[in-house]
C-alpha cells in the first residue's frame, strides 16, 4: 500500500477519485430519487456541441464545455417545467440536439479536426494538481448547498407539487441542482471519464437506498459507497495493472449485486 502511495500520480488519482466520489455521491441521491439517471450521459454528450463550437471559433474548450453544461441545465429545467415533460425526457431531447450541433460545427471546420471523443474518456492516472483543486472547490460548493438546503432538497425530491404548495423555493432548488450536477459532470468527465461519472452518479444511491431509511443517511451512505469503491478499485487496479476507472465501475457494480443478494437472503 505504502509502495503504491509513493507515486505522485497514484496519490493524485486517489485524491481526485475520492473527491469525485464525495461530490457525485451527494448528487447521486437526487439523481436516483428524481429518476434522472440519464443526466450523466446527457450532459457529457451535450458538452460535445460546446466543444465543437469552441474548436470552430478557436475558444477555450473547458470554458465552452462549462457554458454548454449550464445551457443544458437551464434547458432541462425549462422544458421539464413548461413543456410538461419529465426531466429524463427533456435530457433526451436536449442531448441529441447539442450533439447534432456539434457535428454541424465540426463539419464547418476547415482542415484537420481533432478527435473530440477522447475528451470524454479521461484518464485518472493523468490528473494534475489543478484538477484536484477544481474538484475540491466543487465538492465544497455542493456540500454547502446540501447542508444549507437539505430540507428543501428533500421536499422537492419527494413531492414537487406539494412543495410548491407549502412555499418551498422549488424552482431555485431545481435549477441549482441541475446546474451543479451539470457542472460537476463536465468537470469530472475530463478527469475520470464519462463511464465512471455515469456509474458514480447512479450506483452509490442505488446501493444505499437498499438499506437507508432517511434521506440524510442515504446521502452519507452514497458518499461512503463511492469512496470505498474508489479505494478498493484503485488498489486492485494498481496490483493487477489495469486502468483504475473501469476497476472502480466494476467494484461499484459488484457492491450493488452483493448488497442486493444479502438483502434478499435476509428478507
Amino acid at each position: 500500500m505504502m509502495e503504491m502511495l509513493s507515486f505522485e500520480f497514484v496519490r493524485y488519482s486517489l485524491i481526485c477519485g475520492i473527491l469525485s466520489g464525495v461530490i457525485t455521491g451527494i448528487l447521486s441521491t437526487v439523481v436516483v430519487l428524481r429518476k434522472m439517471e440519464f443526466i450523466g450521459n446527457g450532459v457529457a454528450h451535450a458538452a460535445f456541441g460546446g466543444l465543437a463550437l469552441g474548436l470552430l471559433l478557436n475558444l477555450n474548450l473547458n470554458l465552452m464545455a462549462m457554458i454548454t453544461a449550464l445551457a443544458f441545465a437551464l434547458g432541462v429545467g425549462y422544458f421539464s417545467e413548461r413543456g410538461k415533460v419529465t426531466e429524463n425526457t427533456a435530457i433526451g431531447l436536449m442531448m441529441p440536439f447539442s450533439m447534432a450541433l456539434g457535428v454541424v460545427f465540426l463539419s464547418l471546420i476547415k482542415g484537420y479536426t481533432p478527435d473530440l471523443m477522447s475528451y470524454f474518456f479521461g484518464n485518472m492516472l493523468l490528473v494534475k494538481k489543478e484538477d484536484a483543486i477544481l474538484l475540491s472547490l466543487m465538492t465544497l460548493c455542493v456540500s454547502i448547498f446540501f447542508i444549507v438546503f437539505n430540507r428543501e432538497i428533500l421536499y422537492y425530491t419527494f413531492d414537487e407539487t406539494m412543495s410548491k404548495h407549502y412555499g418551498v423555493p422549488v424552482n431555485f432548488v431545481k435549477y441549482s441542482m441541475l446546474i451543479l450536477i451539470s457542472l460537476v459532470i463536465v468537470a469530472s468527465v475530463k478527469i475520470i471519464g464519462i463511464i465512471l461519472v455515469t456509474s458514480m452518479l447512479v450506483a452509490p444511491a442505488a446501493i444505499s437506498r437498499l438499506f437507508s431509511r432517511r434521506f440524510k443517511t442515504m446521502v452519507l451512505n452514497s458518499i461512503l459507497m463511492n469512496v470505498l469503491s474508489v479505494l478498493i478499485g484503485i488498489t486492485w487496479a494498481y496490483y493487477l495493472n489495469v486502468p483504475p476507472g473501469p476497476a472502480i465501475v466494476i467494484t461499484l457494480f459488484s457492491m450493488f449485486v452483493l448488497i442486493s443478494m444479502f438483502k434478499r437472503i435476509r428478507a
Binding site: 428543501e152 421536499y155 410548491k164 434521506f215
Partner: protein, 253 residues
C-alpha cells in the same frame, strides 16, 4: 339553496362566477358558492367535471381563471393520492413536518416545539405509532391520515380534501370519516371535499354541490332530490341510483 342560518356564520370561501378554460376548452363555467366556518360541503360530479380543477384554483395551484375567489383564513389541503415511490427514504413524521414549512421558511430550522406539535397531531389522528415508518410502508388508510395530519399541523381554518377515499379500504374510509367528524367539531373548520363516494357525501356533508363543468346545484343535503343528480349523471343514472343505498334510505324517510 344554502341555509339562511349560514348567512350569520363566518365566511371561509366565497367564489363568484368562476370560469376556467384551457386552449378554448371549458373546464369550469360560472361557478359560484359560499362556504362558511363549521360547514362541510361535498362536491360530486362525473370524471372530468372540473372538481379537482376547482380545488386547485382555490388552493392556488392554478392560475389564468376568471371570476372572483376569496379565501378567509388558512387552508389545509389533502391532495389526491399520487403515485408514490414506495422506497423513498422519508418517514411519516418527516412528511407531516412538511406542513409546518410555511411557518419556518428557508433558513429557520424546525424547533423542539414544532416536533412536539407534529407528534401531538399525529397522536390525535391516530398515526403516532407509524411516525418512524417509511411513508411507502404504511397502508392506504394510514397514508391518507398522514396527509390529513400534514394539512392540520398548521391549524387551518379551511380543510380541502380531494378524493380522500381513493385507494383506501372500507375500514380505512370509516376510520377516516369518523376522524373528520371529530375534528370538525373540535376545530370549527370549514371542510370542502371532492369525492366519488356519493353515499358518504350524503351521509356526512351539510351541503352538496353537483358539478359538471357548470354548477348544477348547491343544496342542503336533505333537500337534494334524484332529479338534481340526473343532471350530472344522465347516462348512468339508473344504475347509480340503485347503488346508492344511503341516498334511497334518506329519501324514503
Amino acid at each position: 339553496m344554502v341555509d339562511e342560518e349560514n348567512e350569520r356564520k363566518e365566511i371561509a370561501i366565497r367564489v363568484e362566477d368562476l370560469s376556467y378554460e384551457v386552449n378554448g376548452l371549458t373546464i369550469l363555467k360560472g361557478v359560484s358558492f359560499t362556504l362558511h366556518r363549521g360547514e362541510f360541503i361535498g362536491i360530486i360530479g362525473p370524471n372530468g367535471a372540473g372538481k379537482s380543477t376547482l380545488v386547485k384554483i382555490i388552493v392556488g395551484e392554478l392560475r389564468g381563471w376568471e371570476g372572483k375567489v376569496e379565501i378567509f383564513g388558512k387552508i389545509g389541503y389533502v391532495p389526491q393520492i399520487s403515485d408514490l415511490d414506495r422506497s423513498f427514504p422519508i418517514t411519516v413524521e418527516e412528511v407531516v413536518m412538511m406542513g409546518l414549512y410555511p411557518e419556518r421558511g428557508v433558513f429557520r430550522r424546525y424547533r423542539k416545539e414544532d416536533v412536539e406539535k407534529v407528534r401531538r397531531i399525529m397522536d390525535e389522528i391516530g398515526i403516532y405509532d407509524a411516525k418512524n415508518r417509511l411513508i411507502g410502508e404504511i397502508s392506504g388508510g394510514e397514508y391518507q391520515r398522514a396527509m390529513l395530519a400534514r394539512a392540520l399541523v398548521s391549524n387551518p381554518d379551511i380543510l380541502i380534501l380531494d378524493e380522500p377515499e381513493a385507494g383506501v379500504d372500507e375500514m380505512g374510509k370509516a376510520t377516516f370519516y369518523r376522524l373528520l367528524d371529530r375534528l370538525r367539531e373540535r376545530r370549527n373548520m370549514a371542510v370542502m371535499m371532492v369525492s366519488h363516494d356519493i353515499g358518504m357525501v350524503f351521509n356526512k356533508c351539510d351541503s352538496v354541490m353537483c358539478l359538471n363543468k357548470t354548477m348544477h346545484c348547491h343544496k342542503d343535503t336533505r333537500s337534494i332530490v334524484p332529479e338534481d343528480l340526473s343532471t350530472i349523471f344522465p347516462q348512468d343514472f339508473d344504475i347509480f341510483i340503485k347503488s346508492m343505498k344511503h341516498f334511497e334510505r334518506e329519501h324514503k324517510r
